[in-house]
């Protein structure tokens, strides 16, 4: 059952984009202020890898190699977020998934009953042909909770660094 509090569960969406670490810092700062629980997820886009294999761009061995490396990237991002939260004396639950990025992100909002999803800003010049564009747009449209897109990364970095001084 969801809490009556405005923000009680913050889901951090780490996608490996430049903005996702700033988004995590914002989430950590917000959690510190509101006392909301934090969870960070990373989804290895195995759907895309399979598509590339079906299109014969990848051979099977490449698909396996790339999946392994992307999984490692995801673990690194989640580890970094855990360490950033720990520096602010907060704990964060983390989970790594594989599959369709938007479907899993939306399912996680439901399953964990998140009331806020925080994600990084898309690159300003992102092509509409980029699957990052599609996945993010689908998350915006289908998420049942509020979605916060973090911008102004310099300011967020400063706020995060100042948290312990307040």
């Amino acid at each position: 059952m969801q809490s009556d509090r405005l923000i009680s569960k913050i889901l951090l969406f780490a996608d490996g984009s430049e903005g996702c670490i700033s988004a995590a810092k914002y989430g950590i700062a917000l959690s510190k202020i509101t006392g909301a629980a934090l969870k960070a997820i990373y989804v290895v886009n195995t759907d895309l890898l399979k598509q590339l294999e079906r299109a014969r761009i990848f051979v099977k061995v490449e698909e396996i190699d790339y999946e392994r490396d992307l999984e490692e990237d995801g673990r690194n991002y989640l580890r970094q977020i855990t360490e950033m939260a720990a520096r602010q004396n907060l704990s964060v639950e983390t989970d790594l998934f594989k599959g369709s990025v938007h479907k899993i992100a939306i399912q996680q909002i439901e399953d964990w009953q998140a009331d806020l999803l925080i994600m990084g800003e898309l690159e300003p010049g992102l092509s509409r042909q980029d699957t990052f564009h599609d996945e993010t747009e689908l998350i915006f449209r289908k998420a049942r909770c509020s979605v916060l897109v973090v911008k102004d990364t310099e300011r967020i970095d400063q706020i995060y660094e100042n948290l312990n001084r307040e």
């Binding site: 895309l48 598509q51 014969r56 761009i57 092509s127 990052f132």
Partner: protein, 151 residues
């Protein structure tokens, strides 16, 4: 990410001068080497050849994407080649190949590299894009076609 950010005039060949698979790979690699982004040319060629030996990167609808992940390059580098006459590149559909995107990426940028491969495949699904690229007569035209397709 945008494909157009990976374009470098030095690494666009219109038209390709070679007509045989390994020679085309070398021609594209030579072009991309001119950008100064290749750390080790021989290692890059070896990576491309090893990937080609696993299965041809000649796809359907006139497209080939010779590619490899290797730390012989810094980040993602791309070369584009046009062969309006069509070349036998052992394509998946048996048809001649007209459009070549060579991609090399270091292991640190796997996520972006996968996105770029997917973007090229998506662009090539557009018949207008394929036709315009096949008919391109100059480097400027190729750059403009890719930029427009990304809008």
């Amino acid at each position: 990410m945008r494909l157009s950010t990976l374009l470098n005039r030095e690494a666009i060949i219109v038209p390709l001068q070679n007509f045989e698979k390994s020679a085309i790979i070398e021609e594209l690699l030579e072009a991309v080497s001119r950008t100064g982004r290749i750390i080790d040319r021989e290692k890059a060629l070896q990576a491309l050849t090893e990937r080609e030996n696993l299965g041809s990167t000649g796809l359907e609808k006139g497209l080939a994407i010779p590619h490899a992940r290797t730390n012989a390059v810094d980040g993602i580098v791309m070369a584009v080649g046009i062969a309006s006459e069509g070349i036998d590149f052992q394509s998946a559909d048996g048809e001649p190949t007209h459009l070549f995107f060579m991609l090399l990426a270091s292991e640190a940028v796997t996520s972006n590299y996968v996105q770029v491969l997917a973007m090229i495949a998506r662009l090539n699904l557009q018949s207008g894009f394929r036709r315009k690229m096949q008919e391109a007569q100059s480097v400027d035209e190729v750059i403009e076609i890719i930029r427009q397709a990304e809008e």
